[in-house]
Each structure stands twice: as C-alpha cells, then as structure tokens.
Subunit: 196 residues, 2 copies
DNA sequence: TAAATCTTGGATCGATCGTTCCAAGATATG
DNA sequence: CATATCTTGGAACGATCGATCCAAGATTTA
C-alpha cells in the first residue's frame, strides 16, 4: 500500500460549532468568509477543503444547529408523557433560552434563516425542523387529550400547528427585544385557551 | 432673491415603492445599491442626494411599508366593530396576501427585518409595527368579549399578544413555503380555542 | 529516513460592496 | 437670456466579497 497523507490539524465538530454561532447570530449574508477565518483561526484553504463553499458551510452549520440544539429539545418534548405540562415545560425552556443566558436575543437559527432566502440545502433543514417540532407537539397534545386535559372539540393537529407557529414567533420576537414576560403572556393565553 | 435651483427629475414616492419591494423580498444585506440603481433607473448621485446612505434608504422603505402596507390593514381591524369576526377577517386577508397574488412567498417586511440585525432607525419602525398590531387586535378582542363571544376567563391582553405572535409566524412560515391550508388550520385552532 | 499525499498559510483572483466626487445638464429667478 | 444653484450621469475610490491556486509544511507508510 502507498504512503498515507497528512491528517486534519483541527477538530471539525469544534470548528462547526463556532461557524454555527456566527451564522446563527448574524445570518449568512452578513457573515463573510473572513469572519469565519477570524473566528475559527483556520485558513481559507482548510475551510474550503473541509466544508466546500459558503453555502455548504451554511448548510452544515444549519444541520448542526438542528441536530444539536433543536432536536434534543423536541425529542425531550415528544418523550415527555405528562401531557399538557410537557408542553408548558417546553415553552418555559424556550423562553429561558431565548431571553436569558449566552444566546439571549439571538433568536432561532432556523427561524432567522427563513428571512434570508437560503439555498436549497438549507431549506431542506428548515423543512425538517418544522416537521419535527410539529410532530413532537402533536404527540404531547395527544397525550393531553387522552388525559382529558383539553377542551372538547379541540383539533390536536390544528393546535399543534398553532403552537408550532407560536414557537417560531417567540424565536423571532425575542430577537427583536421582546421581554420574557410579554412572550410568556402569549404562551399562557394559548395554553389556557386549549385547556379545559 | 437669487435664482432657484433645479428640481428633482423623479417621483420620490414612486422610487421608494420600488426600493421597498427590493428590501422586502430580498432583505437589506442581500440587496446592493447597484440593484436599487437598476430597479429604479436612478443614478447613484440622485439616490444618495435624495435618501442618504443604504441604511437611510432601508429605514425609509421600512417606514413606507409600515404606513402603506401594514397600517391600513391594522386600522381596518381596529375600526371593525364586529368582534371576533373582525379578527377572522383580518387573518383571512393576511393569509390571502401571504399565500397568493403578487407578493406570495415574500412574507412581511417587518418580520423579515427582525432576522437581519437592522439599524436603530429600522428597529424603531419594527417596534411601532408590533405595538400597532397588538393594539388593534386587543381592540377587536375587547369588543368580542363585550359581545360574549369569548370564553370566560380569557385575558384579552394576553390573547392579543398571542394572536400578534401568530401573525408574525404566519408571515415567516408563508415565506418558507407553508400552504395556506396549513396556516389556516393554525388560525382556526387559535380562534376556536378563544371562542365560547 | 525517503517517499507519497494530504493539509496548510497566504498571496491573489475578478467581482462587487457602499460611497464619493466632479463635470455636465437642467431649471427657476432676475 | 444670463445667472445661480440644484440635479444628474458616470467614473472612480478603497474595501471587502467568495473563491482559487501553489508552494511549503506535516504526517504516515514503506
């Protein structure tokens, strides 16, 4: 067998985390390759060699956001068998994430991306993001309905779509500076309206 | 008195409409001054002389969007004394605007702008946009409550905030390709949950 | 250690970015 | 019509855009 080549001098996942945060906070159009170079310490060669062009990098960062940030939350919601309280907990965590801590005011990378006319590779991630959230909410609401926690006549699928949209709007408005209390009043209104 | 200067050779409002649509559809970061020059037929000199730099142009376009697109709809909602049916009509019109016709898939310029880290001058417009919509929805809901159309115990202010967020999310998701039927199911779920 | 091969730094590409500038054009007053 | 003053077209600015290229560096196998 012939001699083996050199190996990468950096941790791909670690770099992708930094890139994810750049695109998350400022979007793709407002983030230059130079910003990525500066933030990661990598050279252009390494970047293009490892990830391809800017759109590929954007798509990889979006994919990572979905899998590492969104999916765990959504899966926890779907696996939480408590019914309506599971939904309340989900929104509590969302409000906490969006309005306090390290990422306060950043919104959701998926929601932000929608306003950006993203490349097709990213649109696929966004579509998956929406589907997973909706499905998780529907699962929790189905349990709530089985528990008799919902008003009679509530359409679980419609309610799931409505709460999915509510989550998107929370993401957006938190970026615009909406307070946690203001956003929580909307969550309370929605859930109280669904409950018996 | 001394001689008078030349006058503008174009209609400022007309130009601003074209600029508004550029920024609305593609956002600020993805729209170059060259795009504005091409779309309006003006020269750079005329643009900078009339409107100032890009951020000023963006702010002027946002202001125009608020006053000419959003405000008329919101005012109609606020002046519609029918109660809950007024709210339904508002969302019907919103769905029609976002999912069909000339501007289908464009979303709402105000919602799109939030994801862009807009300059302070634009943030002021966004803040006003939110306040006006919320107030109009609250007015309609107050009438609905007076009509006995709402469930007992519904907090009108919280419900108004919730429906405001729903409108934002409709704007966003319509841009991502959500169907009118899907979005309508969310509206129906929200309004049915509030109604007696 | 020599060879093979991938990775890396960094210069560089043409294109486009937002903005400025100036001479030429246009218009209302005197 | 002469004059003053604004507007306009269009060249040009330095900076940055995303992307490419190549020589030098690094690493594993033989």
């Amino acid at each position: 067998m012939s001699a083996m080549p050199d190996v990468k001098h950096f941790d791909e996942a670690e770099v992708l985390t930094a890139v994810e945060q750049l695109f998350w906070r400022r979007g793709s159009a407002a983030t230059g390759i130079q910003d990525v170079v500066t933030a990661t310490g990598l050279s252009r060669s390494s970047l293009y060699n490892a990830f391809g062009g800017k759109d590929d990098l954007y798509a990889a960062a979006a994919r990572r956001y979905l899998e590492h940030r969104s999916r765990p939350m959504f899966d926890r919601l779907a696996a939480d068998g408590r019914g309506l309280i599971a939904v309340r907990s989900f929104f509590d965590e969302l409000l906490r994430l969006r309005c306090s801590g390290e990422y306060a005011g950043w919104g959701c990378m998926m929601a932000n991306a929608i306003a950006e006319t993203p490349p097709e590779s990213v649109r696929a991630v966004l579509s998956e993001h929406h589907a997973v959230l909706r499905k998780s909410l529907a699962a929790a609401l189905t349990i709530a309905q089985g528990n008799g926690e919902l008003r009679s006549g509530v359409d679980v699928q419609g309610a799931a779509e409505m709460l999915t949209l509510l989550a998107y709007a929370i993401n957006l408005r938190s970026r615009a500076g909406a307070t946690r209390a203001q956003l929580r009043s909307a969550v309370t209104a929605a859930l109280d309206a669904l409950a018996v």
